[in-house]
């Protein structure tokens, strides 16, 4: 075997080994990062205060802002030169009634992501009350495999929980626990540094 041919074979094998990954770079992958917020308290209605209402609403819609500091948990996420593939794998919101008369006044629930550049909001999970009595615990399931890169700024993602309720029907206080799953792949190409 001639040396040149051997060298070519060796080089080809190394290229094959790096197939699908940066040959001169590094990749950090976390297939599952889960963040569960502590239960957030929502007031009973109609006792809610103006700051509890959605923008522009005087009643009928409660809101709470949520911010995930992913940069705190995932190293290099907000560094220059790092290619980020950040995806929302699942989102779930559990509402639990904490006082009478329960959640019968609840009409719909939305979890909304906020685009920091355009200000546009995107619904990633929603629930609409079905006919019949409202259960004491509600599970709101959501979107999967959504690209979160447009929503990431300085390592943070801003979201909002919006809850529509029937203003003619009193609703007790309740808590909302938001659990969100992410996957993240960070890629650094040495040639780009």
């Amino acid at each position: 075997m001639r040396p040149a041919r051997s060298a070519a074979l060796l080089a080809s094998a190394l290229l094959a080994a790096g197939c699908g990954h940066p040959l001169l770079g590094a990749e950090l992958e976390a297939p599952e990062v889960r963040m569960t917020s502590e239960p957030r308290s929502f007031p009973a209605t109609p006792a809610a205060l103006p700051q509890d209402f959605c923008d522009g609403a005087t009643a009928g819609c409660l809101v709470q802002e949520v911010e995930y500091d992913l940069g705190e948990e995932v190293p290099l996420l907000d560094e220059d030169g790092v290619e980020v593939d950040l995806r929302l794998t699942d989102v779930a919101l559990d509402l639990e009634s904490t006082s009478a008369p329960g959640l019968d006044g609840l009409e719909s629930v939305r979890i909304v992501l906020l685009d920091p550049v355009s200000g546009r909001s995107t619904v990633v999970a929603s629930w609409t009350k079905p006919p019949g009595p409202t259960p004491a615990v509600i599970h709101v399931g959501g979107d999967a495999n959504r690209d979160l890169a447009p929503y990431l700024r300085d390592g943070r993602i801003a979201a909002r929980i919006e809850i529509d309720y029937d203003t003619t029907q009193p609703m007790g206080a309740f808590t909302a626990t938001l659990e969100t799953g992410f996957s993240v792949v960070l890629t650094v190409s040495y040639l780009d540094l």
Binding site: A13, A17, H21, A26, E29, V33, E38, D69
Partner: protein
């Protein structure tokens, strides 16, 4: 597994030859010094032993086999303080002088190991990731270029540098308290990437 597959591919492309074929197949050298050396002792030892250490291979012992003069295969156990593993590779030594250039491609894989002892329990941030380090997989491939100093029939030192491809995978879940009362859990993070490599070795042919 990628490292083993790579090694298997490399071994598969090396043609098998008999001893007699090898000696007759050795290309004539234009270099008078090398040609003279080969004429005086045409038969190089086929088998050898090697020990070496470096990154990313850590400490290794190998049995070497020279199917024909410029090529050698080697394989053996590896140790990285936390676990034992297996490593092997192929090296090309196109000219055999006292100072011989060597190009090698090798791969290795270590048994799943517990790196938890690396974490300082007093460091709160590091300690929360300790569960991830309880079962760590580590494998690598490296392409190195270097020199061997010494005899191709006895003792020789080698020093090589190059590029390596490393895969470091964790198996587990770490759960800890994040900011603002948030609970964070992370499962199976992994690192793959290209890094430098370096290796210092001692060979003995017999």
């Amino acid at each position: 597994m990628r490292a083993y597959a790579l090694l298997a591919v490399l071994l598969a492309v090396v043609p098998g030859r008999s001893s007699a074929e090898d000696e007759t197949a050795a290309p004539p050298s234009d270099d008078p010094v090398a040609a003279d050396a080969e004429e005086r002792s045409p038969r190089l030892p086929r088998w050898g032993l090697a020990i070496d250490a470096g990154f990313p291979s850590f400490a290794n012992a190998s049995v070497m086999y020279r199917p024909f003069a410029p090529l050698r295969l080697y394989a053996g156990p590896a140790w990285n303080y936390f676990a034992w593993g297996l490593q092997g590779g192929v090296a090309l030594v196109p000219w055999r002088w006292v100072l011989s250039p060597v190009l090698s491609l090798e791969a290795g894989k270590f048994r799943r190991s517990n790196l938890g002892s690396l974490v300082d329990d007093g460091d709160e941030d590091a300690a929360k990731l300790k569960p991830l380090l309880a079962r760590v997989d580590y494998s690598y491939a490296a392409l190195d270029l270097g020199v061997e100093i010494g005899s191709q029939r006895g003792f020789a030192f080698s020093l090589k540098f190059g590029l390596s491809w490393i895969a470091l995978g964790t198996n587990g879940r770490a759960t800890y308290a994040g900011d603002g009362g948030t609970t964070v859990s992370m499962r199976d993070p992994a690192f793959r990437g290209t890094l430098g490599s370096a290796k210092l070795g001692l060979h003995y042919w017999f």
